[in-house]
């Protein structure tokens, strides 16, 4: 019979003394829920690699190895030499060491007589034993010498233990996220990612020069279109034309005349510019500006470039311009006008490398934020007259007003320029 009447072992019936911190009792979390949370923490640490793989199993193996290799007491090696000395002092055999004396009356004489009779046999045996003992002694001396020399010791168990320790050390070196090894590894991975991103970028099979010839129009037309903007850089030397492309604007700057050079990311266009005798350098906008000394530039031109940049690059560009252009200098940016819906049907998506168009109000705001004291917007490239909606003869005032409003929204000028004076 199992009497399940635990008289005292029942906390529900026990007169529970009021605990000293009774109010804390209520705050005790559910222990089961707590343990579940602790389990989840451990799983998360394993998943994140904070705990090296197999950590607990390795700790267990570690202890097992200690148990397996531990001797009860180390052997006293000095005993070897002591016993060897004992062997040396007792291994000279001879008939003279055999005692002849005895307590029996007349026994000594009897022993000597018997000894004489069997002396030949005794000597024969002693000689054989002596030969054997000499061999054994030599062997023991050699053995002791071998045992005493650590160079002769092989400890596979010990070696495997050291290997295991090195393995675990390697795991720790790999593991903590703030270790030098981990940071180096992380940097290498970031570089690989950046490299992959560069490769991912658009790489057309045609040349950019061919693209510009086809869609930006004949060189002479382009030159005429930008003459007004170029003239604004008078007295602004030196001027850097970023993303100079076929270098039409650079040529115009030469005509102003103002000292200027161009920066272009496409090596083929750089070569074309150099061949035409112009100062065109290979590079990208941000690196070129970052490399210039503060207040060293008189002007920066970006014609149809900014719409290729990311939002962050646009912000960085304006900040760099503010630092590098000296007071009184100018930054002129021409880009597509996102306020014209006509642009999306015609120019904007024609270029597959266009990112996001930049709103004129935003760009103006950016320059003002960076301390440019005068920021002007100019509308450019009006939509050809033939594309605008016409007001039919005899239309009412309302119809005429509607047509005007649609024209303003859909057929607003295709480009705008920001002229920011530092």
């Amino acid at each position: 019979m199992y009497d399940a009447r635990p008289v005292a072992d029942d906390s529900e019936e026990a007169p529970v003394e009021s605990p000293p911190e009774g109010d804390a009792e209520a705050a005790v979390p559910d222990v089961d829920a707590l343990i579940e949370r602790l389990r989840a923490n451990v799983a998360e640490r394993r998943a994140k690699g904070h705990y090296p793989p197999g950590l607990e199993a390795e700790l267990d193996d570690h202890f097992r190895r200690i148990v397996a290799h531990r001797a009860d007491a180390p052997f006293d090696m000095t005993l070897l030499r002591k016993h060897l000395a004992g062997v040396a002092s007792t291994s000279h055999f001879g008939r003279h060491r055999i005692a002849m004396s005895t307590d029996i009356p007349g026994g000594d004489r009897l022993h000597r007589a018997v000894g004489k009779v069997v002396s030949r046999q005794v000597d024969g045996i002693l000689q054989q034993v002596q030969e054997f003992a000499t061999e054994v002694r030599g062997l023991l001396e050699a053995l002791v010498a071998v045992v005493e020399d650590p160079g002769n010791h092989q400890h596979p168990g010990l070696v495997s233990q050291i290997d295991a320790v090195l393995d675990r050390l390697a795991a720790y070196e790999r593991s903590p996220l703030d270790s030098e090894v981990a940071v180096r590894d992380l940097r290498a991975r970031t570089e690989a990612l950046e490299d992959a991103e560069r490769r991912r970028q658009f790489q057309p099979t045609y040349g950019n020069e061919r693209f510009e010839d086809k869609f930006r129009g004949p060189r002479d037309d382009v030159i005429e279109r930008y003459r007004d903007l170029a003239s604004l850089f008078r007295d602004c030397a030196p001027v850097v034309d970023i993303g100079c492309g076929r270098a039409e604007f650079l040529e115009l700057l030469g005509q102003v005349p103002v000292e200027a050079w161009g920066v272009e990311i496409d090596p083929a266009l750089v070569k074309a510019g150099l061949d035409a005798g112009l100062d065109v350098r290979l590079g990208d906008a941000l690196s070129e500006l970052a490399g210039a000394s503060d207040d060293s530039l008189g002007g920066i031109a970006l014609m149809q470039v900014i719409e290729h940049l990311t939002a962050q690059e646009v912000v960085d560009l304006v900040a760099l311009a503010a630092a590098k252009v000296r007071r009184g200098g100018k930054v002129i940016i021409e880009t597509v006008n996102p306020q014209s819906l006509y642009v999306y049907a015609h120019a904007f998506y024609l270029d597959p490398t266009h990112g996001t168009p930049v709103h004129p109000a935003y760009l103006k705001f950016l320059f003002e934020e960076h301390g440019f004291h005068e920021v002007e917007l100019r509308w450019r490239s009006p939509v050809p007259d033939g594309d605008l909606l016409e007001v039919p003869p005899g239309a009412s005032d309302v119809e005429a007003d509607n047509a005007r409003r649609i024209n303003e929204l859909v057929f607003a000028p295709q480009d705008y320029a920001v002229i920011a004076t530092r």
Partner: protein
């Protein structure tokens, strides 16, 4: 009618010897009562009589007398006395440590434990009643076909512990140290798994609390095993680890008073007095759900699943050491749980059961 107690070994500071001494006070209220043992520590020679004196003792009505035998290890000589005497037998079962834990370190001792288990089974038919100190122990006796099994908690003089003056030198030394003090109290024996505890402490100090300290307070029970555990501590570079070896009561109290956390990884306990002491001193407990541990602690500590590894235990230690609210709540629960083991109640329970046997 007389009640006498028989132990294999009587030594000072031993939980079973202490329980027998407490019990004798109780039994002497009923009639003549003595304690006998095969092995007696010199300090206890005046309190405990040799076993042969029990065999030679003269009683008018030995069949009316009761022999309470405290079982915790095997001993053929003691067993034959128990089986051969005419007195009625009441077995007080403290549990026998598992033999397999000792095989690698002390095969002779493992043999004694294995023998103890065989002897325990053989006593099932001889015993009038069995009193187990925990539900866990009771379940084991029922499996061995004991027919009248009662549960009565171990009689522990917890008030005596609480009123002991802590050792001043040790208290000062502990106060000088910084960081949470993690305490284990118990002999350094394989089934108590101090090796597991060291692994958990290694993870705690490597990943969460480099400032934590671990004190392992107790006899180095089995020297060969203890050396292995200490070697593990050295190889894991646990420089904030202390093995006290044997300590005095006042040193033990100094440790309990300063400890932030009581942790045991033990896989076999018949009752585990240190758990009760930790609760009495308000030290929050982290333990594993093995043997009688869940019976003793119930919900007054973080009792982790038995299959959880050292990492889970490290996580639990970090949690309790880092959350004052949780620690205070567990401490309060522990103090409340201690009331269930109040020695006067334990004695009353024991006596009630015993009277039903006679």
């Amino acid at each position: 009618m007389q009640f006498h107690q028989l132990l294999v070994t009587a030594r000072p500071g031993d939980a079973i010897t202490n329980a027998a001494l407490e019990l004798r006070k109780l039994l002497r209220r009923v009639g003549p009562s003595d304690i006998y043992a095969k092995n007696i520590h010199p300090e206890l020679e005046r309190d405990v009589h040799p076993m042969r004196a029990f065999v030679r003792r003269r009683s008018a009505t030995p069949r009316d007398d009761v022999l309470l035998f405290h079982s915790s290890i095997g001993d053929p000589e003691v067993h034959s006395v128990v089986m051969g005497q005419p007195e009625r037998l009441v077995l007080v079962y403290h549990n026998i440590s598992p033999a397999e834990a000792f095989l690698d370190y002390d095969p002779g001792f493992a043999g004694m434990l294995e023998g103890g288990r065989r002897e325990l089974a053989a006593m099932a038919t001889r015993a009038t009643m069995a009193i187990a100190v925990s539900d866990f122990n009771a379940r084991e006796l029922i499996d061995l076909r004991y027919h009248d099994v009662r549960v009565s908690p171990l009689i522990v003089d917890i008030a005596g512990r609480l009123t002991t003056t802590p050792d001043r030198k040790l208290s000062e030394e502990l106060e000088r140290g910084v960081g949470p003090l993690v305490l284990f109290v118990g002999q350094v024996l394989p089934h108590k798994r101090p090796d597991f505890l060291l692994q958990a402490f290694h993870l705690l100090s490597s990943f969460d609390r480099p400032d934590a300290r671990l004190v392992i307070a107790g006899n180095l029970g089995l020297v060969r095993y203890a050396h292995c555990v200490m070697q593990l501590g050295r190889e894991l570079s646990l420089d904030r680890l202390l093995f006290t070896g044997a300590i005095t009561d006042s040193q033990l109290v100094a440790l309990y008073r300063r400890a932030d956390l009581f942790v045991t990884a033990s896989e076999h306990e018949g009752f585990c007095v240190p758990l009760l002491e930790a609760m009495a001193f308000g030290v929050p407990i982290v333990a594993r759900a093995c043997a009688a541990v869940p019976d003793t602690v119930r919900d007054a500590g973080v009792v982790l699943p038995a299959d959880g590894g050292p990492a889970l235990m490290a996580e639990a230690m970090a949690e309790v050491a880092g959350d004052d609210g949780l620690a205070a709540a567990l401490s309060a629960r522990g103090r409340a749980r201690v009331a269930a083991f109040e020695p006067e109640r334990a004695k009353a329970s024991f006596l009630t059961h015993l009277m039903e046997a006679v």
